[in-house]
Amino acid sequence: MAFVTASLKQANWIRRWAVAACAVLAIWATGCGHKEERADLVIMNGAEPESLDPTIVTGQPDGRVAGALFEGLTRFNPKNAKPIPGLAERWDISEDGQTYTFHLRPNIVWSTGEPITADDVVYSWRRALDPLTASDYAGQLYYIKNGENFNTGKTNAATGNRYVKEDVGVEAIDPRTVKVLLEGPTPFFLDLCAFRTLAIVPRQAIEKHGDRWLMERPMPTSGPYTLEFWRIHDRIRVRKNPRYWDAANIQNELIDLLPAESANTALNLYLSGEADVIWDKNLVPSELMDVLKGRPYVHTYDYLGTYFVRFNITRKPFDDVRVRKALSLVLDKKRIVERITRSGEKIATCLTPPGMEGYTSPEGLGYDPEQARKLLAEAGYPGGKGFPTFNYLFNTSEMHKQVAVELQEMWKKELGINMELRQTEWKVYLSSQSQLDYDTTRSSWIGDYVDPNTFLDMFMSGNGNNRTGWKNPKYDDLIRQANQERDPVKRAKILYDAEVLLVREDPPIAPLFFYIGVNIFDPAKVEGVHQNLLDEHPLWPLKRKDGRTAAKAAAAK
């Protein structure tokens, strides 16, 4: 307000003093902040996590941290994301593939020293399924006997009682053995065991502190790291858990995970040496990819990820399938991948990305503005007349905004309808989606295991990740049927039929493109960042090659 002060100095002296005092305070406060040691590795991790509770988290940035703190019966092989023994050292699978017996490692303990037992496993899984936990990912445990019945509060027809947690098909035979009964032969069950929702969480801490258990210290963890601190919008710092069963193979001591929503901020931090790794799909500086692609620190790879638009089926006019088809048919996806995302993404008409063994997705709706205008007219909005202005929800990110502006123009140009942009931060975005508080929204899905089911089962009516209000009984039946089927070829055919419903006949979504993974790190300095189909990057194999670690730096002081 220099203009005001120039003319009316005396009137403004109070404000000036206030500003000066604030400035002095700010300088003093930063000056006092004790200098923190630099972590071995600083990683740009994406949006600020919604939670660190592995049972609750749904987003990728959140999941990476939760996965570092809590481990499941299996864990991901960092190179190819296949499940390898985690807290369980081995397991037996019955002939029919429906009974798993897990043998826990003898030496596993919480980071606070108490042993991890089979009871903890049973507790963790029942908690994930408990309707009171309200985990959006509870669907990952529906493959366990009575898992779905318990989670959705069904009544047992035989006894007339509601299903309770004791009915769930997981039991502790002895302190080191867990027996799991499944609903059907689930070929990807071991993959699921490595997934965060099935990670083992500390019963004592949760029962003692309730919802605040993540805030209490010490927080017992079952994974390779303990939580040092979580400062909102600053950083999450994790430290190697010396009591982890495989502590000898953890290649680092201290890791900082920085939240960032702007790709440019992340890149600037990397190029100035403040960060060592950038690995979130939202932190790809897409405008610069044409230049960056040739640089030695930029690594691109395929993975199972799809970018799509969800429609809110519970709101007019999106309850009309013709409207949804019309909106989908005018999307010029080629323009989006060539001009906005620019990393070599392939355009998508279906949800399940290519790369799944034994499964080929159906062709979904393509680009046909003529047909779209016809459908919209049939739905009662010829030339877009009378179509209400609707919103498009997306989380803060330059790239999402650019895609949104493109969509806005395509819909306006081809259909004459008006879309309004609604940009929110990550947490608001996630909660608006799950409460169906939007008209259309930007969405993405990354495979949790290498099987089409990880993309398709989320659109079953009861699934917490459905987030469209779409309910199609035929679709639900097909998915259930597929997971009872033992013959892989027949199973693929059933899943194919289901996906036809999802992307062609009654689409609640409009796929845009398949992601290309981009990791940014200098291979001469950092190793252990592996590129795999699931975009999984465990923290424990990360290693600084120049040997500079926090421990050494501290010793040198």
Partner: protein, 312 residues
């Protein structure tokens, strides 16, 4: 020697102030351009005007990230939108917010100050202490809190009562009200000071003895005498409100897309600053336009002040 009215003398003084006159011309031409801009993209003008003037601010094209050329004088952004037309349409928002914000502050400030000064006594003390309290609050923080806490509520209410088409202007409404509500304080002080000196003048006594009511005295006799200084101050408030809005937009709390203001254009351009490659035209042009306009408005306001009050 010819006899001149005070206003004519002021105008003569103003004309001798070169920076102020140049600024007035600049603001005038810019204002004209901004007002006429939407007409330029009509087909009728396609052959008359140079092509660089005929783009639409919201329409994308295939010319992505084009540097300044003869077709796109100020270059284009990622969607191929012409930067010059974006700045022009951003100017509509920025200047509109500036003028309306200043008017809001004018109405509140003049009424508050005039009443406090005219009534005097206990009321004067209470009203001016209230102004002091508001002065001590960091005003930009006040606006931020106002927007973040009340916007969702207001938006829901507007959607319910007037429909989504009106509700999308909610943010702009909040900017008007919010910025206006924090920029009236100085105005109130100045007006009060003027009213205090004027209310004991002879002509006021005269009019009172002729039986004029308080309202009449205040609005017909006192305020017209303050009008000069009010105009001066209002021209200085406009640029400060524009700057407020740009600052809020830069933080992401101002105008939301698809609307753009100078602040949000600068924020977009600043997002492009990195060591790999810089699309300089995305930041330089909006920033230069903003700075030049603010400078011009301030020179103009200073010129007016000097002209109306040669002692100041």
């Amino acid at each position: 020697m010819e006899s001149l009215s005070p206003n004519q003398r002021a105008w003569r003084r103003f004309k001798q102030n070169r920076p102020a006159v140049v600024s007035l011309w600049f603001v005038g031409v810019l204002g004209l351009f901004v007002l006429l801009w939407p007409l330029f993209s009509r087909p009728a003008f396609a052959n008359i005007l140079p092509i660089g003037l005929t783009h639409s601010a919201v329409k994308g094209s295939d010319a992505q990230y084009s540097p300044p050329t003869l077709t796109h004088w100020f270059g284009t952004d990622i969607h191929g939108r012409d930067q010059l037309s974006r700045i022009m349409s951003g100017a509509r928002v920025s200047i509109l917010v500036g003028i309306v914000g200043a008017l809001v502050s004018l109405v509140i400030g003049v009424l508050w100050g005039a009443i406090a000064g005219y009534v005097g006594g206990w009321w004067d003390g209470a009203m001016m202490r209230f102004v002091d309290i508001l002065y001590s609050l960091p005003s930009i923080v006040f606006v931020i809190v106002l927007i973040t806490t009340l916007e969702e509520l207001a938006k829901g209410w507007l959607t319910q009562k007037l429909g989504a088409n009106v509700a999308q202007y909610c943010r702009m409404l909040f900017l008007f009200v919010g910025i206006g509500a924090v920029s009236w304080l100085t105005m109130a002080r100045i007006v009060r000071g003027q009213v205090l000196t004027l209310k004991n003048r002879n002509f006021v006594d005269a009019s009172r003895s002729l039986g004029a009511g308080h309202t009449r005295i205040l609005f017909r006799h006192i305020l017209p005498n303050v009008i000069g200084i009010i105009i001066v101050y209002i021209t200085l408030t406009v640029p400060s409100v524009i700057l407020y809005e740009s600052f809020l937009s830069y933080l992401g709390l101002g105008i939301q897309p698809p609307f753009a203001s100078w602040g949000s254009l600068i924020a977009e351009g600043a997002g492009q600053l990195n060591p790999v490659r810089v699309y300089w035209w995305l930041i330089v042009y909006p920033a230069v336009t903003l700075v030049t306009t603010l400078l011009a408005l301030n020179f103009f306001g200073d010129g007016l002040r000097d002209a109306f009050d040669p002692r100041g």
